[in-house]
């Protein structure tokens, strides 16, 4: 009789871990469905309603694209950080700051859109990078965990945006209670209400995939993330790469904020980041920090987020979506560990039959 035992592998095979991720998404949706059923709702009906409202009309598809766009940016921002082992939990705040800086340029700087829009993008990226600067320097020079510092900056950013939108930058027309005036410039549309933020985000994902896959810089960042000691020994400037990567991560989230305020919302208001930064972490984790993978996981999370919005009359909120996101993350964390085990057959000792 041969015996079986479990063997733990140092790393899971890509196919197994991909399946584990997919299973975690399914399990999370099933769990959410069971909870919904327990509260007396029919989860299958609700699911069908989400699918028909999302994919059944061009309105639904356009709404989906508008949610897909910001998640693409925040997901890429987090994914870039993960490449060098950095948890940028602050994409939410950097997104807010990007929106804040872009709105500031649009509201107070007159000029032709052809000039103002690029300036808004640059300022949005700079603001996002600025918002992660202190956590970056603290991590690079004092080894302070970026997990908590980046996250705390989110609260400061949210307070800042709410403050200017309800105070100094409040719409002077008196028509709005808690937003700025409508921005005089906007990101042009490519299809229906979908704006250029989407194709730019897709191009960004491809560029990052190329940078990580085919350049020396990308290689050094990856080694610096997986084995900083070895990378340093091999003469790679790990600290410099760490700083660059974190600032790029902040800049991408900031650009996402600029696109959101100038392409989708058109006014700066509190809560403009709408948990996009937090869900972006989920997007990046599910994609295993691969830029091209982010395209698919961002789309998946956009469908789930859109589902939450469609089901708002049923008493769900974006906070409910956050809970479902947490469930996926929880199952994914467990699945990652399970994916590392392999069932193997013990070899028969020599001489036995």
């Amino acid at each position: 009789m041969s015996t079986w035992r479990l063997q733990r592998l140092p790393a899971a095979s890509p196919l197994v871990s991909l399946s584990a991720r997919l299973i975690s998404v399914v399990l999370a949706l099933v769990t959410a469905g069971i909870i919904l059923a327990a509260t007396g709702k029919n989860p299958l009906d609700l699911g069908a309603q989400v699918i028909s409202s999302t994919f059944g009309s061009s309105f639904g598809m356009a709404d989906l694209a508008l949610l897909f766009t910001p998640l693409l940016y925040t997901g890429l921002a987090v994914a870039v950080g993960l490449r060098i082992g950095v948890w940028n939990i602050g994409a939410e705040g950097q997104f807010n700051l990007g929106a804040f800086a872009a709105a500031g340029v649009a509201l107070f700087l007159p000029g032709p859109p052809a000039l103002i829009l690029p300036l808004m993008a640059v300022m949005g990226m700079a603001a996002g990078a600025l918002w992660i600067l202190i956590p970056t320097l603290a991590r690079a020079y004092a080894d302070v965990s970026e997990l908590i510092t980046t996250l705390l900056m989110n609260f400061v950013a949210a307070l800042l945006v709410t403050y200017v939108a309800t105070g100094p930058w409040l719409d002077p027309s008196g028509m709005a209670l808690a937003t700025t005036a409508r921005l005089p410039v906007e990101v042009p549309a490519v299809w229906d209400i979908v704006h250029w933020g989407l194709p730019v985000g897709l191009i960004l994902a491809v560029l990052l995939a190329v940078a990580f896959g085919f350049t020396r810089w990308g290689y050094e960042v990856r080694i610096g993330g997986s084995n900083p000691g070895n990378a340093r020994y091999a003469g790679m400037p790990v600290r410099r790469h760490l700083i660059t990567v974190m600032l790029v991560s902040g800049a991408i989230a900031g650009l996402g904020g600029m696109m959101e305020v100038a392409g989708t919302v058109h006014r700066l208001q509190g809560g403009i980041s709408n948990n996009f930064g937090y869900i972006g972490i989920m997007v990046a984790v599910l994609a295993r920090a691969a830029p091209l993978g982010v395209i698919f996981t961002a789309l998946l999370m956009a469908v789930i987020l859109n589902g939450g919005i469609i089901l708002q009359p049923q008493g769900l909120t974006t906070q409910t979506v956050l809970a479902v996101t947490g469930l996926i993350l929880f199952y994914a964390a467990i699945g990652d560990e399970f994916a590392r085990y392999r069932l193997i057959r013990n070899a028969k000792p020599a001489g036995t039959r």
Binding site: I134, L151, Q319
Partner: protein, 311 residues
């Protein structure tokens, strides 16, 4: 002087949330588990407390329910991180998302309404009549005395003056050696992480039953993350932890006083102080206290899952 006494009184009240949550995190981190779900646990506990007192107006029952929900959530978290040995950062973030999202969804019916029962102020006889000190230190609700006096002293004694405490710290510092010495590593990690989670949810109960006292979305406002940072700042020691929490309570109290007295600083700027302050406190020790670094260092085995068969 009267302002200062009131400030200290408010600092204790506000700092209580952070102190209780941070004490829970000390327990988990001392046995080697980082629980980043504190923010979500506080939200769950806060919502549970309000929900229970809305049915039965008894604050102790609300508090007990909050602790119970926290223990249950903590056991699920421990199952994932200690038994299955899943990534602690991912599982912790997941717990924060689930707790925050679930509390907001389920708490909707109670949103904005004042708590139906709260922990009332308890003046300690004689002492509360003292000038200045009476108001500052001896005129708070009973939980404040438990959180700032009873719990930290008890935990300090447990962790640094008992055999069990030595075992506990060994599990966090070097699980393999602890295992070899016959200490049940996984059992210790499982239960202290779960109890720590219960305290975090208890901090939520304190938030809505003794401090705010009402539930609304976003009422937790990052306190869980500040608590996690405080633990690092306090060098993973219970007494230091409550003192650090008091410092943060003081910063929060300054914001209240500033608003009440119309200081010429915008309210949102004052509201930013605790977050900005936490970042400063995370960076400062590294730069200023180089010599104390070893004393204040994190347990060696923190975030490292323990596999007995890996050599």
């Amino acid at each position: 002087m009267d302002i200062l006494a009131g400030l200290i009184q408010t600092a204790l009240l506000a700092g209580g949330v952070l102190a209780l949550a941070a004490l829970g995190e000390v327990l988990a981190e001392r046995v080697g588990v980082v629980n980043l779900g504190v923010e979500g646990l506080i939200a769950l506990g806060a919502m549970t407390g309000i929900a229970v007192v809305s049915v039965t107006p008894e604050p102790w029952l609300g508090m007990a329910a909050a602790l119970g929900v926290g223990l249950l959530a903590g056991m699920i978290f421990s199952l994932a991180t200690v038994v299955v040995r899943a990534n602690q950062v991912l599982a912790g973030l997941a717990l924060t998302y689930i707790g925050t999202g679930l509390a907001s969804t389920l708490g909707k019916p109670f949103s904005g309404a004042p708590a139906q029962a709260t922990f009332a102020r308890l003046d300690i006889p004689v002492l509360s009549d003292l000038p200045f000190f009476g108001r500052a230190f001896f005129s708070s609700n009973i939980l404040v005395y438990i959180i700032f006096l009873v719990l930290p002293l008890a935990l300090h004694y447990l962790m640094f003056h008992t055999r069990h405490g030595l075992n506990m710290r060994a599990v966090g510092e070097n699980p393999a050696a602890a295992d070899a010495a016959g200490i049940p590593v996984l059992k210790m990690r499982f239960w202290y992480t779960s109890i720590g989670a219960a305290l975090a949810a208890g901090a939520g109960g304190y938030l809505t039953l003794a401090f705010v006292p009402s539930w609304s979305e976003g009422v937790v406002a990052g306190r869980g993350w500040i608590a996690v940072a405080l633990v690092i700042f306090a060098g993973f020691r219970p007494i230091n932890t409550v003192l650090a929490a008091l410092l943060f309570g003081f910063i929060t109290a300054l914001g209240f006083v500033g608003q009440a007295r119309n200081w010429p600083v915008a309210a949102p700027i004052l509201a930013m102080l605790p977050y900005a302050g936490t970042i400063v406190l995370m960076i400062l020790p590294v730069l200023a206290w180089q010599k104390m670094r070893r004393l204040m260092a994190a347990p060696e085995g923190l975030t490292q899952p323990y596999f007995r068969d890996e050599r």
